[in-house]
Symmetry: C2
Subunit: 419 residues, 2 copies
């Protein structure tokens, strides 16, 4: 019988180069959970790639921290990755500082319409909702779609849906016992004042454009003008006790978006990706993205990252993907600024020898984040950690958002004795 | 100045092996359009992968024929691929025999909700709508989203949407001059009677299941029971005079689907794909899919086909993709029957010598269709052809739908004299 005796060995590498993975297990702690083999698992969350002001840094970090803790609680109670990732997302959606769930950006009509999706690396099932109003935790609906689809066909052999939008998604949620939530409960003082400010600004911009500027010139307005709202979609990726991975993402979408607009958070392959190791893939991978939805959709960034992470060097693979398949993507050739960020992890099992000469089967978790936006707020925690680490990653001084990137990460080893 | 002196050389290969491309141009016809260099281009359409009864074969073929003719008319008038493909789709949507636009399957509530998308291989822009009611030609809205996005940013630097759903999509369409269309005008006698029949069947199935069968057993009901409606999504792929490719797809979705359900026809990378040749891609490729939306989404079949088509042998590439990335996909491991079909084309330029020893720059178009459904109706035509060819491809006798496939195709050479 396998028994975990190994605590996580987390190494941070804030610079360009990924540190080599140390394959020697260190027994840094022996919690009860570790001893009984139940405390495996790791979570990495993001509170968005966008701009995180210093004044609110504490709040963003706090949300990430609580999200990690919630996911770890779930993992400790034996939950699978897909449920732990949902638990993390609920915390992030409930934070009034993130653009997801409560506090989401308002659309052109002053309404909240959320996108969210979730993917289970074990079953490879996917659930997504788009432009959903009136539900406090959109990720719960995505999770439920996923679990319902896993049950197989509906009556009369009908295939269950994996993606529902708008009013139909709302009704489906209610029919499955998820309670409604009024708009005013999901709107915050901040989101409402941002909406009013944006609306005035838009009206002014349109007036000026109509009065003075030719359509052609108007269309060439720089993307730097797009400060109508933050891009801080939230997300999480998890590996559980059994080594299964899962990923999720949730977003209120761009501020002042057209009603019905669906961004990357609901798009298969674009918002999140999770895939357990298989015959063709040596690594289990999980990815969650954030940023400008249209850029993330057209580059299918989540899946591209997942595919790249099967190569030898995770750090190099992510760096090249962000450079070649995002910033310099031929799909975004007409875009001056390509705005987005990702969190990724990959895991593989490997046998190592501990200092006490025990044979240990370790689960190596390499985790990274990268963004082309000004900043990205992340948090991470393993099931053996006492508390989460949080961090606001920023582009280096002088770097231009949308044209350059930051990349950071770490390695965590979760060990299980096989003696 | 370039002048086209070469008429198309279409070869059909109904068997397993793709015929070798004959690189010698044959001057089989010299139409006026060919002479003035304006008659280049080729279109391949499908009226769906599903089941096409012999009794309605004529109608399906007729719709495909007219769709091809309309696209070719556009090409002859100098339209780009993206507009020619839209013209083909409009004909297919307007046919009362296809599950797209007028005559679409009704959903659980007896409403029509359409999905459609379009991709331009030149700009790599994409436009999609999901769960759209009240618009006669959903592809027109997708096309308009694409062309609006190509114009650049909206006022105040807002990024234009590439995907709109539901009520918001409807309002956007009206705001952009696309007229509304009432449900009763889009409903046909056939779709309504199918709805009533399906509804009775479903109610009966649910009653029986509730009375007698345990949930677990109900969930295991075979997919063969899913004869609630045809799966005949429509689509088209085009290469224009300049060698640009475009692809589009449109669908009413599964019969008796949940309101708000969005299928592959609106999913980036799943319903259609078009990508001009570039630095990394020797071939321009275009793909349009049909079948069970959830299967096509989770395998991202359109993009997978496009990637595979960059390898040497198009026929082999498609065959392997359909076998390994669709029927045997790890993403559909739990599915007994994997139902779908694709039409694909790829083009490359090559210099050849005609019988009259003229130097000719030819555009070679290799086109194929493949399906795991009982049948798939296709039509194709080059701009120099007098009329379209149509065909209902069927699985060979004894082959099991969802587990085996048919693959056919041809080669067409469009030549331009460079003397």
């Amino acid at each position: 019988m396998e028994k975990s005796t190994d605590a996580p060995d987390v190494q941070e590498f804030p610079s360009i180069r990924c540190v080599a993975v140390n394959a020697h297990a260190k027994e840094t702690r022996n919690s009860d959970e570790a001893k009984n083999g139940k405390a495996m698992g790791f979570v990495l969350v993001h509170a968005g790639a966008g701009y995180h002001s210093e004044s609110k840094a504490k709040e963003y970090k706090h949300a990430c921290k609580r999200a990690c803790q919630k996911a770890v609680e779930k993992l400790k109670s034996g939950a699978l990755a897909v449920d732990a990732v949902t638990a993390a997302l609920i915390v992030l959606e409930d934070s009034t500082f993130t653009n997801a769930g409560t506090g989401s950006n308002l659309n052109l009509s002053g309404d909240i319409e959320c996108d969210a999706s979730i993917m289970d690396g074990k079953s490879l099932h996917f659930g997504a909702i788009g432009a959903l109003s009136g539900i406090k935790n959109p990720v719960l609906v995505a999770n439920r779609l996923l679990s319902e689809a896993q049950k197989g066909k509906l009556s009369a052999g009908r295939i269950p849906p994996c993606f529902l939008v708008g009013r139909g998604a709302y009704q489906w949620a209610l029919d499955h016992g998820i309670p409604p939530c009024s708009l005013d409960k999901m709107t915050t003082k901040f989101s409402l004042s941002a909406y009013r400010r944006n609306k005035r600004k838009m009206e002014l911009a349109e007036k000026v454009e109509m009065d003075v500027i030719q359509t052609k010139r108007r269309r060439q307005s720089s993307s730097h003008e797009n400060d109508t709202g933050s891009l801080d979609t939230v997300g999480a990726i998890v590996v559980d006790n059994e080594g299964n991975v899962a990923a999720a993402v949730s977003s209120g979408g761009l501020a002042m978006k057209h009603p019905g607009r669906v961004g990357q958070a609901a798009h298969y392959g674009c918002g999140c990706w999770a895939e357990n190791a298989g015959n063709l893939n040596p690594y289990s991978t999980a990815v969650s993205t954030s940023g400008c939805g249209e850029h993330l959709v057209r580059t299918m960034l989540a899946r591209e990252c997942s595919i790249a992470l099967q190569s030898e060097d995770a750090h190099l693979a992510l760096l090249e993907t962000m450079q070649n398949k995002f910033i310099s993507s031929s799909f975004l050739a007409s875009e001056e600024c390509v705005l987005g960020g990702v969190i990724v992890l990959r895991t593989c099992r490997c046998a190592v020898q501990s200092e006490a000469s025990q044979n240990i089967q370790a689960l190596l978790v390499e985790f990274l984040w990268s963004h082309t936006t000004e900043s990205m707020c992340v948090g991470y925690m393993s099931a053996q950690d006492g508390k989460a680490k949080t961090h606001i990653s920023r582009l280096p001084p002088g770097a231009v958002a949308g044209q350059s990137l930051a990349i950071e990460g770490g390695v965590c080893r979760l060990g299980t004795s096989v003696n």
